[in-house]
Symmetry: C2
Subunit: 111 residues, 2 copies
Amino acid sequence: MSRFAPMPEPPYYAVIFTAQRTAGDSGYGAMADKMMELAEEQPGYIGVETTRDADGLGITVSYWADEEALIAWKKVSEHLLAQKLGKFRWYSHYTLRVAKVERGYEGPEGR
Amino acid sequence: MSRFAPMPEPPYYAVIFTAQRTAGDSGYGAMADKMMELAEEQPGYIGVETTRDADGLGITVSYWADEEALIAWKKVSEHLLAQKLGKFRWYSHYTLRVAKVERGYEGPEGR
């Protein structure tokens, strides 16, 4: 499975979630898998890109067709639950930014 | 040094760069350090968040005050050079998306 999200014609939305994990799993892995499954079922879901280094700093960017899609996703109850638990258990710090993608490129070119 | 970028009042711009590294360093580390130094000197630079997992998938998000700032950065010659070399040597695949940040939050709250 590709770890890159599709590149549809802009505009569409990106949710950029950067987070520092605390030590230990504490149910995080299972929650993250479940969240990914739920996201894929949502209307307007385009894809996700996620990575985390050995120090626990992760960046997850999910892509959504329009603002309606990301608002709907935010409302999904298990997502809300995960957000709530995350605040107290899984992350020492996080930032979340919602951004409208205006253009995109991919490569490498010329191969 | 914090690995989180500042959270200014939106709107501002995000450049989301997702890339799969090839094996070996091939001068990548030195180039990446130099790029980071150059970015910090640019007008309109807000900050950067970057992480990469053991499989070589990295996500780097740089934040810029306005479109002018990101166009200027794109033109910096060493950046262009790095892009060019990157296409042929450092990455097996990459995507770059330019997005306008509309809102942002950070946490954890309630601690």
